[in-house]
Symmetry: C2
Subunit: 238 residues, 2 copies
């Protein structure tokens, strides 16, 4: 493959030619099967991952086994920011939520590139800020919004990171992500289905009416989306 073809990951694609060429030989395209754990809470990260057509959830799992999603990462970002932030580990778990692929880079190579203080550094830092926004909004959303609204937000976040309008996802798994009961998801999803906004059966959800979902969602989705676009799509600042 030619180093100049798009890699389908926004961060890699945003790199200037020289940096991309330098990095390219060290990128390894790997499969990301559903449920694969990229890193565990507290475990030292070996690689950073740049998803292409996969989605990864950053999940916090509590002592009693309950869990909550902190953020979701797709082809707009990277998994393993603590590698270049300096901490090497985080108290959360990264798990593949939608199967696909990702480019993988060893921690050492990443730090090498990061320490050249080129565009890679700035892009990664801006991405990290958008990740921070997503986490902050998740906190707010968990505090104030209903399960129905949160489900809509979650569907939209996933949809934005996928081709097409279908996602393979059981209600049980969604419940794990949102940190709620499976029955709660059944009920909320049932409402959406009655409204004709989605259709689902046995682990496959088809979004039929995205505008309606956006309407039913809380402001959190829009805030994150807007901030994310501002940080990552707009022409470089400073």
């Amino acid at each position: 493959m030619d180093p100049s073809t798009p890699l389908q990951n926004h961060i890699l694609d945003a790199l200037p030619e020289a940096e991309r060429a330098r990095l390219f030989p060290h990128l390894k395209l790997v499969a990301m099967p559903l449920g694969l754990v990229l890193y565990e809470s507290g475990a030292t990260l070996r690689h950073i991952y740049f998803p292409t057509d996969s989605i990864v959830s950053l999940l916090y799992v509590m002592q009693d086994g309950a869990s909550a999603e902190i953020a979701v990462v797709g082809n707009e970002g990277a998994v393993g920011v603590s590698l270049f932030m300096g901490g090497e580990t985080t108290p959360s778990r990264a798990i593949v939520q939608s199967a696909g692929h990702a480019y993988r880079l060893t921690g050492a190579r990443l730090k090498q590139e990061f320490n050249r203080h080129g565009e890679m550094l700035h892009i990664l830092l801006r991405y990290t800020q958008s990740l921070i926004t997503q986490m902050a909004q998740t906190a707010v959303c968990n505090r104030h919004h209903s399960l129905d609204q949160q489900l809509c937000r979650w569907l939209l976040l996933s949809l934005d990171r996928l081709e097409g309008n279908d996602l393979k996802m059981t209600q049980e798994l969604i419940a794990n992500m949102l940190g709620v009961r499976r029955e709660g998801v059944t009920e909320a999803a049932g409402k959406l289905q009655k409204l004709g906004a989605i259709r689902y059966s046995r682990g496959k959800i088809s979004v039929l009416d995205r505008p309606q979902i956006e309407n039913l969602s809380c402001e959190c989705y829009a805030v994150v989306k807007k901030e994310s676009d501002r940080l990552l799509l707009r022409p470089r600042l400073s």
Copy 2:
């Protein structure tokens, strides 16, 4: 004042002699009165603040006026990380939660120092990671833990950033931070008072039995504290 005296802000104090000396002439010690808004949602940041004896809350305020605290910053950190992360703004508000002082640095000077890629960069990035941890844990806590537990967590976070065991804070303000009703705080605080863990009246809270508060708190406080210590107190890595 001599540039080598401790400044009572962990980030500044952790800088090597040379960087501290370079920065010192540009630091301005400013008063931080209760309620002062350091920046509004979406507004361009002019300065970065390094609190000494003050505490700043990062608060998200929703369209309908409801609010939720995202993180809290004291003398362990800095307010305005989006300046060096590259985004210049954030969708949250920074408001002084406990009066005191802070060192202030213009955004331009900060970026100048940051772009020298010295120790300042690494310290700020590690601090940012600890901030990320705090936000993530806030999200989890909002999802799964009771108001009582969250109040305990909040008290501990504040105590860690203050001298002594008293905090000036009405139940109404605490409710704003936690994003709950004032009555809920009254009830939770009443329980703590009955247990002899705290005493309060008219905006002054005295913590009498900190170990008990730690006991009643959820795991979230300990997780954040531990990760924060790891990132900021331990000898420099890599």
